[in-house]
Symmetry: C2
Subunit: 114 residues, 2 copies
């Protein structure tokens, strides 16, 4: 998976349903690694590794609070994905500028901190 293209890492991270589940949980609210681990039939170590894959792809970021590590969705990155998809599907391209400016003005309010 060692390619400098950012999208390689993003799509690779998204290609596993466990990792997508983590993202879905994080889209609701930020959680600790331990909280996320409880949702899966995996050891802490394995979950931690998957979280690192999401982190390397910049789909999430972490913050420390004592000995707990909180994971947060990085909403910004989705713009890159959306751009790629729009590029493939011409008929969405027309909507992208509109979408872009919408996100630029609205997204900040959704991020609740970082």
């Amino acid at each position: 998976m060692e390619n400098d293209n950012q999208l390689d890492g993003i799509f690779f991270a998204l290609s596993d349903s466990k990792r997508r589940s983590i993202l879905t949980e994080l889209s609701e609210e930020s959680k600790t690694v331990g909280e996320l681990a409880k949702s899966f039939d995996l050891t802490m170590g394995a979950v931690s590794k998957n979280i690192k894959i999401l982190e390397n792809a910049k789909l999430i970021y972490k913050s420390k609070s004592g000995r707990q590590v909180y994971c947060h969705m990085n909403f910004d990155i989705w713009r890159e994905v959306a751009k790629f998809i729009a590029m493939q599907t011409k008929f969405w391209e027309r909507r992208l500028n509109e979408l872009e400016s919408f996100i630029d003005t609205q997204a900040i309010g959704e991020k609740n901190g970082r």
Copy 2:
């Protein structure tokens, strides 16, 4: 990559920049496997295998014309991807219904046959 979830296959297929390049070429116009192969420093066999990965993910479909195999972008599948992205990024969800109905009415014209 053996999981029944459709998105696993889609995102896995998208996680390689060679395969994404193939898609980008096909978003312009349908091409034969041989034409696509010329764009890459790979043997026909290797290209054929990557094309099969895209085909299994239903990102493309094939049609035969004599001994040549044409590859076509399957625009429909992107709706699934867009849905997932919108689900992750709540602030896009509001736009999805609008986008959906737009695609339903417009997409057919873009597909020029199948």
